[in-house]
């Protein structure tokens, strides 16, 4: 049951071959059995899940359904869920029970989806390995000594281990695509503004985007149909029509122009990794796509620009965690300053503090022009690079991450090495484009992901291309050995 696609599960539910309660119980059982190995969940909502499943079954019996009714899902613990702890992976919000649902959570709730629980993540989505969680690291299902990637590591590990049929994530610099690659699942970051940010705890507002982590591109498309859309509560959400993302999945990709940026395929890229990515490109070529070498010269400036913009916004976004209204408050504060200093020192982890310092520094009046303004200029140039590229090509293809999953602890002392894990993904956020990572083989038994980048609001194209690839390959169907049993 846990290997079935969303549409197959939906079909089984609609034809009453299985009930939502049975399906939900099946995944709850798997979570109980396997999650102790993974630490993918922060909160498991067993009781409410079964209640929701019962309601879904009622709906199904009354034929008041959508394709998602009765299907279980896991939300990254960055999405506010009414009445359920929403920790954002931080001690700061360990005691925070959200009084409201995020818009996208509400939308999926409305379809009758069943919430299994909240997944582990790097604290405030800051990290590329899921080691920065107050709730401990998540393990990679392919090798429990390795990281699953981050920050949506819990969601990706859960889907990879088939303990959740599908999960949500967020992506600020690669936080869906990079862990999807390292965990061997499909992860889509939609265009900035495609999915409402209301109720999604902010890390860097101008980069954050909610997305979907699933076994297949088709599953992503099915969920995105109800996940995306304009929200009057989010002024930056796009008032663009939401197409049926499943409609064009099978479209031929013959004649499609795919660009391979020279900046990604240089001597710095591991040769074996390069081979895997080229092999994926060849598959597209086989289906009639035309490959091009392209230039994205400003890509090299992406990482530094990202590590100015993201911390700047984060420092401001995280100012509200001051121990006054919600979240962690230190014991017996002596005065206001002590309340602030100790609540924040105790509540935030090292990486978060590091970024608050960086962000505060780059926004200070004496450094603002040299850092923040400069980074914004780079951002404009990066966007122009992409805009120029999309005049001639339809999709850009890159590795998702330069390496496969690395060992837990191996990069914790080397921030730059850790950050470089996102080198191929951050510019997509800086430009606000959609990107998807799909499984494209294995290197030393660890999954490799290939990233496809599309033009603004061209998620349909990305899902079409990804789906065609998945029709011709079976990388996405592989299940890590330890999790193959019932």
């Amino acid at each position: 049951m846990h290997t079935k696609t969303l549409l197959a599960l939906s079909d089984a539910l609609q034809h009453k071959k299985i009930s939502s309660v049975e399906l939900t119980q099946h995944f709850l059982d798997r979570i109980k059995k396997f999650d102790p190995l993974l630490n993918a969940f922060i909160t498991i909502t067993e009781r409410t899940a079964l209640e929701e499943a019962r309601k879904a079954d009622e709906r199904i019996s009354k034929n008041k359904t959508s394709p998602l009714t009765g299907i279980p899902i896991a939300h990254k613990d960055i999405f506010c869920t009414a009445g359920i702890k929403t920790s954002c992976g931080s001690k700061m919000l360990d005691n925070f029970v959200s009084p409201y649902d995020a818009t996208c959570v509400q939308k999926l709730k409305n379809t009758g989806m069943v919430l299994l629980g909240k997944t582990n993540m790097d604290e405030f989505a800051m990290g590329s390995s899921n080691e920065n969680s107050y709730y401990g690291p998540v393990k990679n299902p392919w090798d429990l000594d390795k990281v699953p990637g981050g920050s949506s590591g819990g969601s990706c590990a859960a889907v990879a281990a088939r303990i959740a049929p599908i999960a949500t994530g967020t992506d600020t610099g690669g936080s869906i695509r990079q862990p999807a690659a390292l965990s061997g699942v499909t992860g889509l970051k939609p265009t900035y503004g495609r999915v409402s940010r209301f109720g999604m705890i902010a890390f860097a507002s101008s980069l954050d985007q909610a997305g979907v982590i699933a076994k297949t591109a088709e599953d992503v498309a099915v969920l995105l149909n109800d996940f995306a859309g304009f929200d009057p509560n989010d002024s930056t959400s796009a008032d663009n029509p939401v197409p049926d993302f499943t409609a064009s999945l099978n479209k031929s990709i013959s004649g499609l122009h795919i660009g391979l940026p020279k900046e990604c395929f240089n001597e710095q890229l591991d040769a074996q990794m390069a081979d895997k990515i080229y092999a994926a490109a060849k598959e597209f070529e086989k289906q009639g796509a035309i490959l091009h070498d392209i230039d994205l010269p400003m890509m090299r400036a992406g990482m530094p620009a990202y590590y100015v913009v993201a911390p700047a916004e984060a420092a401001s976004n995280l100012a509200r965690y001051d121990g006054v209204r919600f979240g962690h408050r230190c014991d017996n504060p002596k005065n206001l300053e002590d309340l602030y200093a100790r609540s924040r020192s105790e509540g935030f982890g090292d990486e978060v503090k590091h970024r608050i310092f960086t962000g505060t520094y780059v926004l200070s009046s004496t450094h603002y022009n040299a850092y923040y303004i400069k980074a914004q200029q780079i951002r404009t140039l990066i966007r122009r690079d992409y805009e120029a590229a999309f005049k001639n090509i339809d999709v850009i293809l890159t590795p998702t991450s330069p390496t496969t999953a690395f060992s837990i602890g191996s990069r914790m002392k080397d921030r730059i090495q850790m950050y470089l894990s996102d080198i191929f993904t951050v510019t997509v956020n800086l430009a606000g484009l959609p990107g998807i990572s799909i499984p494209a083989g294995f290197l030393n038994d660890l999954p490799v992901g290939v990233q496809l980048i599309g033009n603004y609001f061209e998620e349909s194209t990305l899902l079409n291309v990804a789906h065609r690839y998945q029709q011709a390959t079976d990388w996405h169907l592989k299940i890590p050995e330890k999790f193959r049993g019932e």
């Binding site: 959200s98 009084p99 940010r197 902010a202 930056t236 700047a312 001051d322 006054v324 206001l336 009046s365």
Partner: protein, 475 residues
């Protein structure tokens, strides 16, 4: 050495919207603490601001009213600082690209002269909450009802040189925002409050002196006292060769002095940057066009019209233009009566009576229509100005209409020449000594005879006729 003060004012005008600046919470005053604070106002994780369009319209309206440029694109910015009544740890404001830029306001001073005060900018922002230090046994209470209330901060150029000018500017602004219907103007409720920047320098010196800022003043009287106190304080420091410290002050009403708000002034770096949760605010030509049709007659326009159409002097025209109730009262009367006579009565008898009774012109027992009737009787010669004052008192105490009082009290003016001549003859007969003295050249006694005649007629004799006839008799 002569000293010169420079004053710049920042006025926070609370916009009269139904809901807050970035949330749907009600924006009324005086509710139970924290009963008008939503998850957005509380800065809950994941919440986002949505701009109140009515507040934008109000800012545009203000911009047009002060002849400013309304920016086609303005940008919201975060002003970052920590304070318990600032829930998000930043205030959403506008920094480098405000919605209103480069306007001005004409003010009229007590001597009737006008002065143009530049308005550097006006920007939209949200208010903070309130920290309540009393009643919590040494702890601080936080009321977030005010957090997120919509404000228009109006920043003047440093064009103001005295407390008188500052108050004139503020009163003009205060009237304007009420006439535009964008602010209640209620100063007790903090809907119109002011930060005052003051510096003093030697008259010949070009550069401004070091300034102090006195925050959150919400009465014209306190503002005037603050400015006068602060100018004197700074001048004394400079005179004695000292230096003024740049600092934030508060005005102690009881002690009538300013003192530093904080013991130690720390340089605050607000780390402004564009608010990523809001798109740049675009204002189309059509929006501006539409709002320009909603602007009522502005005080400045009214003043110019009054001066021109009613031939009033600048000072009187300005007083009327800046008081909606008074000017509509005036216009009712001046439709039928000589405007100067009308203005003299409104600012004379009527104002005096209102002040004495502590009533506003709206509560006046003598309506504009009744005053018109009264003044019409002066104009048609039925009564003299002096008798009119007596009748006014009767009207004030509700003794009937003008004509009823004239009729009942027999106050109609005597205009019959023969009757007046008879009275004159009587007076001359009764005062032979004075008559002799007058004839001997003591001209000043003419007034004595007028007085006697008026007295004998019980004030009813037409004064002009009395004059003319007396002159004839005595010549």
């Amino acid at each position: 050495m002569n000293w010169k003060a420079t004053i710049g004012l920042e006025v926070h005008v609370q916009l009269k919207t139904k809901s807050k600046m970035f949330s749907g919470s009600a924006a009324s005053f005086g509710a139970e603490p924290n009963s008008q604070a939503s998850i957005i106002d509380l800065g809950f994780p994941g919440t986002l601001p949505v701009l109140n369009k009515t507040a934008v319209d109000m800012a545009i309206k203000f911009g047009l009213a002060v002849d400013a440029t309304v920016a086609h694109e303005s940008i919201f910015a975060r002003k970052n600082y920590f304070y318990p009544d600032l829930p998000k740890g930043y205030q959403i404001s506008q920094h480098s690209h405000p919605i209103v830029q480069n306007g001005y306001l004409d003010i009229v001073l007590n001597d009737g002269t006008s002065k143009k005060i530049g308005i550097t900018r006006a920007h939209l922002e949200e208010d903070s909450g309130k920290s309540l230090h009393e009643d919590f046994h040494g702890k601080t209470g936080i009321d977030l009802n005010r957090a997120g209330m919509p404000l228009l901060e109006i920043v003047s150029e440093p064009d103001i040189a005295s407390a008188e000018e500052a108050v004139a500017y503020l009163k003009t602004l205060h009237t304007l925002v009420q006439q535009l219907d964008i602010c209640t103007g209620n100063m007790q409720e903090g809907a119109f409050r002011c930060d005052v920047n003051i510096s003093v320098r030697p008259k010949h010196q070009k550069e401004f002196g070091t300034r102090t800022e006195t925050k959150n003043l919400n009465s014209f009287r306190f503002i005037e006292r603050t400015i006068n106190y602060e100018i004197e304080r700074q001048t004394n420091i400079l005179k004695n060769g000292g230096t003024v410290i740049q600092q934030t002050l508060l005005f102690d009403v009881a002690k009538n002095e300013t003192r530093p708000l904080r013991a130690k002034e720390e340089a605050t770096d607000y780390r402004y940057f564009p608010e990523p949760d809001l798109l740049p605010l675009k204002i189309t030509h059509e929006m501006i066009q539409k709002i320009s049709t909603q602007i009522p007659e502005l005080p400045k326009e009214k003043r110019e019209r009054f001066a021109k159409d009613y031939k009033l002097n600048n000072y009187i025209a300005n007083l009327l233009a800046n008081n909606q109730d008074m000017s509509s009262y005036f216009e009712t009367v001046a439709k039928k009566i000589d405007p100067t006579l009308a203005a003299n009565w409104i600012f004379g008898e009527l104002s005096a009576a209102l002040n004495k009774a502590e009533l506003s012109i709206r509560q006046s027992p003598v309506s504009a229509t009744e005053l018109t009737r009264l003044l019409a009787r002066i104009e048609d010669g039925t009564i003299s100005g002096k008798i009119a004052k007596t009748i006014f008192e009767r009207l004030w105490s509700g003794d009937g209409t003008t004509d009823e009082i004239i009729e009942k009290q027999g106050l109609k003016q005597v205009t019959d020449g023969n009757a007046i001549e008879k009275i004159i003859d009587q007076v001359l007969q009764d005062n032979p000594d004075e008559l002799a003295a007058y004839r001997a050249g003591k001209d000043r006694l003419f007034g004595f005879f007028v007085g006697q005649v008026m007295q004998l007629s019980k004030g009813k004799a037409n004064p002009q006729q009395v004059n003319d006839l007396l002159k004839k008799k005595l010549s």
